[in-house]
């Protein structure tokens, strides 16, 4: 704000006062005018009353003298309305008949009459007062201008002290205004300085001298709060920059708002980054699509992005959209971590497992083949016993190796999980009867609820059947009494297969580890229930390869619900719920 000079305030103040005074003056004047007229009217009536006592002949002869005494024009009129004498007209006989005049008319009726009108002989606005006597009428007239002038003169005499008072008030207000404006200017100066924290102490000192204490308190409070905020900001910034993960904050249009030091190192980009589009800095179509997906669905997602040689990097990017209400216009955070090394290691170990499994399978096939041949040949009971054991263990080993090979395949070629659309009814018919039978043999009831019309599912048929078998096998294996239920439903974008059992259940602390390779629950270990702990991890891998998911809910002693979500429209992006 520009500094306003004192006189400007003063001018405004003065003008308002004068404007307020004008109507007051007008009212005073009109009031006095009325008052003067009344007073004159009264005076003239008194004169007329006195004059009516004087014999008319004497009035006629002394008209001019009497008019001078009463300071007005005197007219004597007879009963017929003829003017007999007039103080200002030399030949009254020439004057017209006055009977029609309003004041005479009034006097005729009431004895006394008033009126204001223009005199025909003198051409002036006059006040007329008439009285009725025995012989005729007496009339006194006074020009109104005289009355008005007198009222105005009186009003003017009032104006002088009023003007003096006005001046006094001007002077006083000027004095006070100056004081207030000086304080205001100081306040303005101080508030302009509030933003600069280094001035805070000097500012406070200055304020102690010049400003009222309450303002000083406010300033003190604000500057304290600000320095605290600055400190917090510094702490957060340090945290932001110290992290090993690259962080990028983008706005809704995927433009960079800010980035941390690690990100700058990742990008090795010397240019200014803020304001640039994500695409300009990291040209990767999958990344943009994943970020847009996260923004439109407001869900956190994770995405692996691979850069071809020469960079040859693999990055894992966590994408977390921030709500519009809390972050102006909606923003999104990307956290980059370089997983090139771990990816390479994973690939190597995966290949290693696959190779080993493959190498083991060849001799194992020979063992199984020869054991079976021997079993057919040998009739001796003790030898058969050993051979049966060898066969059982070899079969077990074969299953393990098959599972490992399948896992390796799912990992390296997830697209193999897809296939031509299959009819779910038909696929289930292949897997359900054997488990229904197994359940019955164990004394469990087995239900399946599959709606008659279902969309086709684009999955590899054999692998779908294996996933069903793994889950049903678990359900039957871990249930001692009660039932196993399979239920297929269509839920929005997903087709769900829910397998519900009334088995021993899984303790809450074990739930997060389900689906990890070779992880077996405590109960499974205690209960001597056979298995390698690969079944669920195979199902989990399959679902991830499909872009769906496996959800397991369980309560100990009450049973377990395993749900498979098959996406109906195969999305490009594998969405995984993030912890944030």
């Amino acid at each position: 704000m520009k500094k306003r000079p004192v006189w400007q305030f003063f001018l405004i103040y003065g003008l308002t006062q004068v404007i307020l005074l004008l109507p007051f003056l007008y009212l005073t004047f009109s009031h006095f005018k009325g008052l003067y007229r009344e007073k004159n009217k009264e005076e003239m009536r008194t004169y007329l009353n006195i004059l009516s006592l004087i014999p008319p002949e004497r009035i006629i002869t002394h008209t001019s003298e009497l008019a001078r005494i009463t300071e007005s024009r005197l007219t004597v009129i007879d009963r017929e309305g003829l003017v007999i004498a007039d103080s200002e007209v030399k030949s009254p006989k020439e004057l017209e008949n006055h009977l029609s005049r309003p004041e005479i008319q009034e006097a005729m009726k009431k004895g006394l009459g008033f009126s204001y009108h223009l005199s025909r002989s003198t051409h002036r606005e006059m006040l007329y007062v008439a009285i009725s006597t025995k012989k005729g009428y007496l009339r006194l007239a006074k020009p109104l201008t005289e009355i008005n002038e007198a009222a105005f003169a009186f009003s003017l005499s009032l104006l002088k002290p009023a003007f003096f008072l006005l001046l006094l008030s001007f002077a006083l207000s000027l004095l006070f205004l100056r004081k207030i404006i000086v304080v205001l200017h100081k306040l303005e100066e101080c508030t302009n300085n509030i933003g600069r924290v280094e001035d805070a102490i000097a500012l406070q000192e200055e304020m102690t001298k010049k400003l009222p204490p309450y303002i000083k308190e406010v300033v003190k409070f604000c500057s304290e709060k600000e320095s605290r905020l600055r400190e917090e900001k510094k702490e957060l910034e340090t945290l932001f920059h110290l992290g090993a993960n690259g962080l990028l904050l983008l706005d809704r249009h995927l433009r960079i708002v800010t980035q941390n030091k690690a990100m700058e190192n990742f990008l090795a980009c010397p240019h200014e980054l803020s304001g640039k589009y994500l695409m300009e800095v990291i040209r990767h179509a999958d990344l943009k699509e994943a970020v847009e997906y996260a923004l439109t669905h407001s869900t956190a997602t994770k995405k692996e992005i691979t850069f071809p040689p020469p960079q040859d990097h693999v990055w894992e990017v966590s994408i977390v959209p921030l709500k519009e209400e809390t972050f102006r216009g909606g923003k999104v955070i990307l956290s980059f971590s370089n997983i090139t090394k771990s990816k390479a290691w994973e690939r190597r170990s995966g290949t290693f497992v696959a190779n080993v499994a493959h190498e083991l399978k060849t001799p194992l096939t020979a063992i199984i083949g020869f054991t079976e041949t021997l079993l057919m040949e040998v009739k001796e009971e003790s030898t058969t016993n050993f051979l049966t054991k060898i066969d059982a263990h070899a079969q077990r080993l074969k299953r393990l190796i098959d599972d490992l090979l399948l896992l390796a395949e799912l990992e390296s070629k997830p697209e193999r999980m897809l296939g031509h659309p299959i009819d779910i009814h038909e696929a289930l018919r292949e897997v359900l009867p054997s488990f229904a039978h197994a359940a019955k043999a164990k004394g469990l009831s087995f239900f399946s609820e599959v709606p008659p019309s279902l969309p086709k599912l684009a999955v590899n048929r054999d692998k779908f059947i294996q996933a069903m078998a793994n889950l049903l096998d678990n359900a039957v294996k871990f249930t001692e009494k009660g039932s196993v239920t399979l239920k297929v439903e269509k839920e929005e974008d997903y087709l769900t297969v829910r397998i519900n059992d009334t088995g021993i259940g899984i303790p809450a602390h074990e739930l997060p580890f389900l689906g990890e390779r070779f992880y077996r629950g405590e109960k499974a270990k205690e209960g001597k229930i056979s298995g390698f702990g690969l079944g669920l991890s195979i199902v989990k891998e399959m679902m991830e390869a499909l872009g769906g998911r496996l959800v397991i809910e369980s309560e100990i002693g009450r049973g377990t619900i395993s749900t498979l979500y098959f996406p109906l429209s195969k999305g490009e992006i594998g969405v995984e719920d993030c912890m944030v």
Binding site: H253, L254, H271, Y277, M279, E280, R283, H284, A285, D286, K288, P308, P309, P310, E415, R416, L418
Partner: protein, 225 residues
């Protein structure tokens, strides 16, 4: 664009959006090429099918970008740098769309090739494809960072790709002469090489347009320096 601001914030924003879109288009095309090479080298039919399916997305973006450019030209009457930027974008857009089509062509041929045994181990073909891919990447980098030097390098690299193409053809001829049963496969591989050679030509075209955008000079029909 970024150096000086326009008086109309809206216009500025439209230009920036266009820039982002064309870069995205570039990223998509790069991805397709990268996957095309993988499908070829790893003999992955599934990947090849995905590439063919993804061409729709590139085609849609092509139309969208072109419409945006025309709208900007009609409504804003751009001049100087802006005009060069928009016209360059139209041309680069066309090149990128053609590259996407080439990748689809390669993918189609890969599908046929995969049904038959491998004719020979690929050595020069992946090298050529990687070179073409890096040419696209560098031409787009040159466009984004307004780097004339890099654009010139892309123009020079085109000759290398041409040489590799000839070399591959000569090699394939020997296979064809050896056994006439090899001819269909050798022809397919030769066509793939030709497609990759066309891709590098388009990358060179992009580099030409980048030089035009930055300097205003037309270098389209001149030899690379």
């Amino acid at each position: 664009m970024t150096e000086k601001k326009h008086t109309s914030i809206h216009y500025e924003q439209e230009l920036e959006e266009l820039r982002e879109k064309i870069i995205y288009m570039g990223a998509l095309v790069e991805k397709v090429i990268q996957r095309g090479i993988r499908a070829l080298v790893e003999r992955d039919s599934h990947l090849a099918e995905e590439i063919i399916a993804q061409d729709d997305q590139i085609d849609r973006l092509d139309v969208e970008i072109e419409e945006k450019c025309i709208k900007l030209l009609a409504l804003r009457q751009p001049t100087a740098g802006d005009l060069r930027f928009i016209t360059t974008t139209i041309k680069i857009n066309g090149h990128l769309e053609r590259i996407g089509d080439m990748a689809v062509n390669v993918a189609r041929k890969v599908l046929i090739l995969n049904k038959e045994p491998r004719l020979k181990p690929y050595i020069d073909l992946p090298r050529m494809a990687e070179l073409a891919q890096s040419m696209i990447r560098e031409s787009l980098d040159a466009f984004i960072n307004k780097n004339v030097e890099l654009a010139n390098k892309v123009r020079r690299d085109d000759d290398l790709v041409d040489q590799l193409n000839e070399q591959i053809f000569r090699e394939l001829l020997t296979y064809m002469m050896e056994d006439h049963k090899n001819i269909p496969r050798a022809m397919l591989i030769s066509q793939i090489a030709k497609n990759i050679e066309r891709i590098s030509d388009h990358a060179k075209g992009i580099a030409d347009m980048v030089i035009y955008m930055i300097t205003g000079q037309t270098v389209r029909h001149e030899e690379a320096t």
